[in-house]
């Protein structure tokens, strides 16, 4: 709180120097970990993105659903189509207040190109219980290349606030 002496630019003590070196080394390590995992890890943040519009994306999703629909399931009182696309293909999910559309049926161990976009607000794609979370924005088509490594029913929760019905926005992915 008080003004320092006139010449305060003095050498650091031994403990300060040691801690500074250790902390700096740790910071450098933290920095290296990210590119290392980028090249070696199997879980990375998707970067592939395209510009789109609500109309264009909705049309693509409808076409996709008509092509591969295998059934229908009630989700929160609304019938939602169940879609079983072939392994390795492009699959689509549309986010809107307050619905994830459609329900995907995927195969374990197969790779899919999952497209995500929003019709209206920001939404949060949160796949539970595997806990994968992605931000979904209107006007952006986000492509995540995913490989399910476990099977069962998975819930998509919306985890970005999108007005008062937000918590009712729940979707589903089935992995066989």
């Amino acid at each position: 709180m008080l003004a320092p002496e006139k010449n305060w630019w003095r050498p650091m003590g031994r403990l300060e120097k040691t801690w500074l070196t250790m902390a700096l080394a740790w910071c450098i390590f933290l920095t290296i970990m990210m590119p290392l995992w980028y090249y070696m890890g199997k879980q990375n943040v998707p970067t592939e993105t395209y510009r789109t519009t609500a109309q264009k994306y909705a049309a693509t999703v409808n076409e996709f659903v008509t092509k591969y629909q295998v059934g229908e399931e009630n989700l929160g009182g609304v019938p939602i189509p169940v879609v079983a696309p072939p392994a390795g293909s492009d699959v689509y999910i549309r986010a809107s207040a307050w619905q994830w559309f459609p329900i995907l049926q995927l195969e374990k161990g197969q790779e899919y190109r999952l497209h995500l976009s929003s019709m209206d607000y920001n939404h949060g794609f949160s796949l539970q219980p595997v806990n994968i979370n992605l931000q979904v924005l209107p006007g952006y088509e986000y492509v995540a290349t995913i490989t399910p490594t476990s099977s069962g029913d998975f819930t998509i929760v919306c985890n970005e606030y999108c007005f008062v019905g937000h918590h009712t926005m729940v979707g589903k992915i089935i992995v066989k």
Binding site: M1, L2, A3, P4, K6, W8, W9, R10, M12, G13, L15, E16, L20, A23, L24, W26, C27, L30, T31, M34, W37, Y38, G41, K42, Q43, N44, V45, P46, T47, D120, Y121, N122, G124, L127, P129, V130, N131, I132, N133, L134, Q135, V136, L137, P138, G139, A144, T145, T147, P148, T149, V157, N159, E160, Y161, C162, F163, V164, H166, H167, V170
Partner: protein, 575 residues
């Protein structure tokens, strides 16, 4: 009133008055004093409103109680964010800036009119935000107001008013420093605490400008002048405001750590260069942190995210790790110089644990570093963010930083403002001794409850998670821990507001006669000036205990960090 020191005209011509603080022996400009009081009072008022909202939303998220209906939950959540993250912090910081640029420098307030204008704009903007959120359901857009969620024009206008008011107040800080230097009120370098406030003020300036870049277009869009604004760009600009705003809190909080350490223990910074360098690292690198919120956003490359999220090379984190050593070390050296030299931690055992400022500082440092800092770096790691984005681990992290850290430190400091600035006797001193422990303990439980819930996938900002249908039973438990923590913290908050209001409203007006509130009547600040080079450098006074503490911290940091990579490796493949 007879007990008050007489005020004296500052210069022959000027109308300004000052008094001399008998404890700190510094001149206190009456303009500055009134400004500090006004800002501090508003801070406590918005803290009380935001705290009430906190209680209600916490009791709603505690799934077993689930108090509020959905619309009120989201409305009060919006209010809570605005009052706490913006209004409480900024009002208190402006009080701190006025203090740091006048009292600490023995100087006058050079632009009181502008400062009052800023205060009025902030007050009007802050109260207006509360009113429009409460009255108009359209404004339930959360404090982030992500476009294209559309609030009413008044909502954005209240943000703009508050931000411009704050900017004006921050500018008066710089004016004060320049004028004080020119009038030779202090010699040589700024005191470290003022230097830290200076860091906060510089960060605040560009933070507020970035806020304008987000909120002004949103305002124009809400009145249909602008037909479209990119939601991704809005997020980038908003977090250019939202994240650095928390770094302003950080810089202000650390300044207050140094101040409290000096007030309660009488420390001298172990090495001014070391501590100042740490502040400079914030200045240069912390602005990149807005990327933390965009790590799983579409449209951004790995390189952009990795460079920005790591503050270039975790250099801002390095700054925090430096302070994490330098403050405990300064305390240890001062304590050892007083003769508490037994073992590694004798200095700590004999610390003034009953002194509210000391307790608040220690709790703030521990929870900020061990919980807030570590979780922050981990969830800000690009890939790990996949597991964390928008889950309850996020609020778990920032309640540990902004609340357990910053708010606890601010509360601790506020107690000392009562005798020194308000010139009232602090009432309910026993309460003040307990308050930091109750508040900090509650906040710790709350943060841990949130983090453990988030690890299990519970999303933030959600009225009812049972819709998801996949909630494991253990979530009920972690949410209950969160809820109990919230109740404890609110009790601590009520204690703080009660102590402050009781002292300010009913305490007798009297000139401060001592610095410490509870533990004795010596004056650690003056004692700190007696610490000689010999005291600082002698072998038996070296901060070995503090060094062991930071080593333990680093070990915990590494354990938590690698556990998260391990968790990430278990989920689905994604790229």
């Amino acid at each position: 009133m007879a007990t008050l020191a007489p005020t004296t005209p500052w210069t022959k011509e000027a109308k300004d008055d000052y008094r001399t603080c008998p404890v700190l022996t510094l001149k206190v400009d009456m303009h500055a004093e009134r400004l500090i009081i006004a800002n501090a009072v508003m801070a406590v008022v918005v803290l009380a409103i935001g705290g009430l909202a906190a209680l209600l939303i916490a009791l709603t998220r505690w799934q077993a109680i689930h108090l509020l209906p959905a619309d009120w939950f989201y409305r009060l959540l919006t209010l809570h964010g605005i009052d706490m993250l913006i209004a409480w912090m900024v009002f208190f910081e402006i009080a701190g800036l006025h203090f740091g640029s006048t009292v600490l420098l023995n100087a006058r307030h050079a632009a009181p009119k502008a400062a009052w204008l800023g205060f009025i704009m902030m007050t009007v903007g802050g109260l207006m935000a509360n009113v429009v959120v409460l009255l108009d359901p359209k404004n339930t857009v959360a404090y982030t107001a992500y476009m294209p969620l559309k609030a009413s024009p008044l909502f954005y206008l209240s943000y703009i008013l508050f931000a411009v008011g704050a900017l004006i107040a921050v500018i008066t800080f710089f004016i004060n420093i320049v004028v004080a230097k020119r009038e030779k009120r202090f010699e040589g370098s700024l005191p470290l605490v003022a230097f830290g406030f200076m860091t906060a003020a510089i960060l605040a300036t560009y933070t507020l400008l970035q806020g304008a870049a987000a909120v002004v277009p949103a305002f124009l869009w809400s009145i249909n002048v602008l037909s479209h604004f990119d939601p991704g760009i809005y997020r980038n600009f908003f977090w250019g405001f939202g994240h650095p705003a928390q770094q302003v809190n950080l810089a202000a909080m650390i300044s207050i750590w140094y101040a409290l350490a000096q007030i309660t223990v009488g420390v001298r910074p172990v090495n001014e260069k070391f501590s100042r360098l740490a502040f400079v690292l914030y200045l240069f690198f912390i602005n990149l942190g807005s990327a933390h919120h965009l790590l799983v956003d579409p449209g951004l490359s790995f390189a952009w995210k990795a460079v920005n999220t790591s503050y270039a090379m975790y250099l801002a984190v390095l700054g925090s790790m430096m302070h994490a050593f330098s403050i405990p070390a300064a305390i240890e050296v001062a304590q050892r110089a007083k003769g508490f030299r037994k073992g590694l931690f004798g200095w700590l055992r004999n610390a003034p644990w009953k002194e509210p400022g000391f307790a608040a500082m220690v709790i703030s440092i521990i929870i900020f570093g061990w919980v807030g800092g570590v979780t922050g770096v981990v969830i800000g790691t690009e890939q790990i963010n996949l597991l964390v984005h928008n889950t309850m681990r996020l609020p778990g992290h920032f309640h540990a930083t902004v609340v357990s850290g910053t708010t606890t430190a601010f509360m601790g400091f506020a107690y000392y403002m009562v005798p020194l600035i308000f010139r009232k006797e602090l009432k309910l001193k026993k309460w003040a001794t307990w308050q930091p422990y109750i508040f900090g303990g509650g906040m710790l439980l709350l943060s841990l409850g949130m983090i453990v819930s988030g690890l299990q996938g519970v999303s933030r900002r959600s009225w009812d998670i049972t819709f998801a249908g996949v909630v494991p039973g253990t979530v009920e438990l972690s949410l209950a821990i969160f809820g109990i923590g919230a109740i404890l913290a609110v009790i601590g908050g009520i204690m703080f507001v009660t102590i402050m209001l009781t002292s300010i409203l009913t305490g007798s007006r009297l000139e401060a006669s001592q610095l410490l509130l509870v533990t004795g009547n010596n004056n650690p600040v003056l004692e700190s000036t007696k610490l000689t080079e010999h005291d600082m450098e002698s072998k038996q006074n070296q901060p070995k205990g503090a060094f062991v503490l930071v080593l333990a911290f680093l070990a915990w940091f590494a354990v938590y960090y690698f556990t998260n990579w391990w968790l990430l490796g278990r989920t689905w493949f994604i790229r």
